[in-house]
């Protein structure tokens, strides 16, 4: 076993002290001299042509400094991909959902800004609107985007061949359809942005983000200023869960108002705006057709999924693919055909979310349980017969190197007492299992790699610069742990400068679960390069070859004779006085298939590592009320290597809350003609402390050969598999396979009534 000093320890997070003292600054906490309040006027119609906008009354209101509309944007359009550039930051011709941005104001205070919004006179001509993907595809009324026939935004087609032939050979075939409505992130921190142009005409921005470099590029494009003039600053971020990766129209609008007024501007979303005006999860209608042999091995699968994408593309091609990818990574399939359609509707924009495709995944596992029952196989055995094995290729040709899927199943089964419980529990008492796999990275083009710089200070401490952002998951601590481990320092000796586009190099962001694997590895490599330089200097002091040296606890010592040592600080000082640089850089670029593209070529190496998780849930259902009480949860994931089990457990537990307890029992949006009826915390039911079951975390370490210390994605496989396990457990308790998620009491009661 490798002997690490700091990696693998339950080290408390470096950022938590400031947070418990109330000192950590979030965007809304910022105050700058002469700062104005910005507010956005949003469309009250789901689909309407904008005839005219008259801002004269608003501009005449004392205290109003600027009003901006689509005319001020020079028609700039945003899209993650060149072929999905469909969203203006302020609409000029039409509004496509209730909440679409049509104008904005900057004023001296919130009250004035709110009054000014009411004084902006927008004349609309209402257009017929569509609110669900099936209706949108069939609609003969005006398209939401003229260039997308049938309102189909994205179509992903994956076909490995031999699907029909293998169905013909199948012993048993099932086809089932599963649905789930939209869910929301409900990050604790409502979206906020502060922007200003500084004395050098540089745009400086503070906002929650999933990667500062992913924000700076679209701002640079939109304002036609060089990238070095866009400075996204590091700020504490109150959660993301996939919802803060892209540019938000508010970022651009805030910067535009700052430009027009010459003052800093702050836009702070209300809770309702955070739900409506950022991103939501996609609703999905998924049909899985699965053919198996006598032993339950999947010979052929055909999956068709219709996703309600809302008004704009967002991360459309990725969102349309990921539920399929998680399935193909977790399970072996003889052959598979996938058709994913992301469809425009006149509803808020949908993006990636922690349990992206909860209905897709839970449907698949429910169907596996159905097939298992038909064949008389235990659900656990059913999964083991189809589970991914190391060294295999996924259906879309990604090599899976490290994989301990089976170990996660075995360990979760043992801990949960599955064998004593499955089929033996009293009525309305059930147990369910879910297994899933999540990517450690996507092909990210030019931002696929990360670089880090480390400089030594004369006191022997180090400043580490990295583009990695922390959304709350503990990325900053991860970087500090890695740097301290590699440099032989203590965590308190590391000063981290991160997530700032002025001082840090390009980085993929926390998007695609890749922060540790890519950004962490970049810091590790930079530190290793520093260490090499330090050892060169130390070898002269200690009179031994550099490769005989090691560093730990602020000392550089001879590996075979640790008593021969020199303080690291002294080595730094010797280097400085001899004009030798001990500063260094390092980077990491994952070897993925750069030709792989979401729509045009969805084959090839997706990422370098995949994680695998199993969750087992035990529930009791009250047949009178349909209320589900969760008795126990076992969450087990192959994370490669746990860099910090304390942080990791917290990620597992949070994943169970969002993916399972909320995602499968209470969380969903309700609608009336494109209007979200439950955008606030009062009506949208988030899990509370009293709702949560005991959670038993089991960490499996498969040591991914390409990951830093063997690490790969951590805890997303729990969020996904928890959704599946919750669904399985409830179905098992009531004796009905549920096909509409989340499993709310009304649906459960209806299902119970039906079998009676």
């Amino acid at each position: 076993m490798t002997d690490y000093n700091i990696i693998g320890t339950r080290m408390p997070r470096v950022d938590s002290r400031a947070k418990v003292m109330g000192k950590a600054k979030f965007t809304a906490d910022l105050k700058l001299p002469h700062m104005l309040v910005g507010k956005i006027k949003r469309s009250p119609y789901a689909h309407a042509r904008i005839i005219s906008i008259d801002a004269s009354k608003a501009l005449a209101l004392p205290g109003v400094r600027s009003v901006v509309t689509g005319k001020d944007t020079e028609g700039v359009k945003w899209g993650v991909f060149a072929y999905t550039r469909d969203q203006q930051f302020l609409q000029t011709d039409k509004a496509r959902y209730i909440g679409d941005e049509v104008a904005a104001v900057a004023a001296v205070d919130e009250e004035t800004a709110a009054k000014a919004l009411d004084l902006i006179d927008v004349t609309y001509e209402e257009l017929p609107a569509v609110y669900d993907p099936m209706a949108a595809m069939a609609s003969e009324t005006e398209l939401i985007h003229a260039e997308f026939p049938n309102n189909i935004n994205i179509h992903v087609n994956i076909d490995t061949g031999n699907v029909d032939e293998n169905f013909a050979k199948a012993h048993y075939i099932r086809e089932d359809t599963f649905t789930a409505p939209e869910e929301s992130y409900f990050q604790a921190e409502p979206y906020a942005v502060v922007a200003r142009f500084d004395s050098d005409d540089c745009l400086e921005v503070w906002c929650p983000n999933g990667g500062p470099h992913m924000k700076s590029k679209p701002l640079s494009n939109s304002f036609k200023i060089p990238l070095h003039k866009v400075k996204i600053r590091r700020i504490a971020i109150g959660g993301a869960f996939g919802g803060r990766s892209e540019i938000c129209p508010a970022d651009y609008i805030c910067a535009l108002l700052a430009k027009k007024t010459g003052c800093p501007v702050k836009i702070q979303f209300t809770r309702e705006e955070n739900t409506i005006g950022t991103r939501q999860g996609h609703s999905m209608i998924t049909t899985h057709k699965t053919g198996v042999d006598k032993e339950g091995r999947v010979l052929a699968r055909e999956t068709t999924c219709y996703m309600d994408g809302g008004a704009y593309s967002s991360t459309g091609p990725i969102a349309t693919s990921v539920p399929f990818l998680s399935m193909e990574q977790a399970y072996r399939m003889g052959s598979v055909r996938y058709n994913g359609y992301r469809v425009y509707t006149n509803k808020p924009i949908r993006g990636m979310i922690r349990t992206h495709g909860r209905g897709f995944a839970a449907g698949l596992d429910t169907q596996l349980d159905m097939i298992a029952e038909h064949l008389g196989i235990d659900p656990v055995e059913m999964r083991l017969r189809n589970s991914r094995q190391p060294g295999e290729y996924t259906s879309t040709k990604s090599l899976v190197s490290s994989c301990a899927m089976d170990e996660t199943i075995h360990k979760a089964v043992e801990k949960s007492g599955w064998k004593e419980k499955w089929g033996k529990l009293p009525p309305f008492h059930g147990i369910g299992i879910g297994t899933n796999s999540v990517q450690t990275g996507f092909p990210m083009g030019i931002r696929g790699g990360s670089q880090s710089f480390i400089k030594f200070n004369e006191d022997g401490e180090a400043t580490v610069m990295s583009g990695v952002v922390d959304n709350g998951q503990g990325n900053e601590n991860m970087l500090v742990q890695i740097a301290a481990e590699e440099l032989g320092l203590l965590p308190e000796d590391i000063h981290l400068v991160n997530a700032d586009t002025e001082t840090t190099s390009s980085d993929p962001g926390s998007y695609s679960q890749v922060s540790t694997f890519v950004g962490g590895q970049a810091v590790k490599n930079a530190a290793a390069n520093c260490k090499e330089k330090l050892f060169e200097v130390a070898s002269k002091i200690l009179k031994v070859p550099a490769d005989a040296l090691a560093a730990k606890n602020r000392m550089i010592f001879v590996k075979d004779a640790p008593e021969k040592c020199v303080p690291l600080k002294k080595v730094v000082r010797v280097a400085l006085t001899n004009f030798i640089s001990v500063n260094a850089e390092g980077g990491y670029w994952p070897k993925v298939d750069m030709k792989r593209e979401w729509v045009s070529n969805p084959y090839g190496q997706m990422c370098e590592a995949f994680s695998f998780g199993t969750t087992i849930i035990e529930v009791k259902v009250d047949p009178q009320t349909g209320q589900v009480t969760v008795l126990n949860c076992v969450a087990c994931q192959d994370v490669g290597k746990a860099l910090n089990p304390l942080v990791l457990e917290g990620q597992f537990e949070g994943s169970v809350a969002m993916g399972g307890q909320g995602g499968m029992l209470t969380e969903y949006h309700e609608w009336k003609e494109g209007r979200c009826l439950n955008p606030t915390m009062l009506d949208y039911k988030l899990p509370l402390a009293c709702d949560m079951p005991p959670i038993h975390n089991i960490i499996v370490e498969s040591i991914e050969p390409k990951g830093p210390y063997g690490a790969k994605e951590a805890a997303m496989s729990i969020a996904m598999s928890a959704a599946q396990a919750y669904a399985g457990a409830v179905s098992n308790a009531i004796g009905v396979y549920m096909d509409s998620f989340p499993l709310t009491p009304d649906k459960i009661l209806a299902a119970i009534k039906k079998i009676k």
């Binding site: 320890t9 339950r10 938590s16 003292m21 604790a188 109150g238 915390m681 509370l688 949560m692």
Partner: protein, 173 residues
Amino acid sequence: MEKLDLILNINNKPMDVRITPNDTLLEVLRDHLDFTGSKESCGEGVCGSCTVQLDGKPVRSCLTLALEAEGCNVKTVEGLADGDKLSPLQESFVNHGAVQCGFCTPGMLMTADALLQQNSNPDEDTIRKALSGNICRCTGYAKIVEAVAHTAHPDDQCPECASGIKSCCKTKE
């Protein structure tokens, strides 16, 4: 609206503040006095992120008028530590990994601190019930409940004590 001059006793210090009568305590704390530790997350009294204590009782500062706090001892998250020295509850939050994004943390701490003042011996159910007015989206609450429980009942079995990196249980030595 007419402005009013008010003296608020915040974290044992009298503070002069000029307010409008409809200003909430949260607005006055954050915007007038720069106590930005208290957070606004829902703005309608549901999430608990803005929780502060009035005479030891946890209240939603987004639903409390600043005027109502006149004559009370207002305690905010900034008042928990003694200078640089964290309170045992804060220390326990840090050591048990109860903090992730940290946005709900100040409110969570103020509710938990009020609970422990009232009940020095709460069981897990009592803690969970007391914290159920505070929404956390990151942690699944497990480590938060653990952190509160350990403040009340330091425990040698706790993995954080056993890890040796930091002692989370003050009575251990």
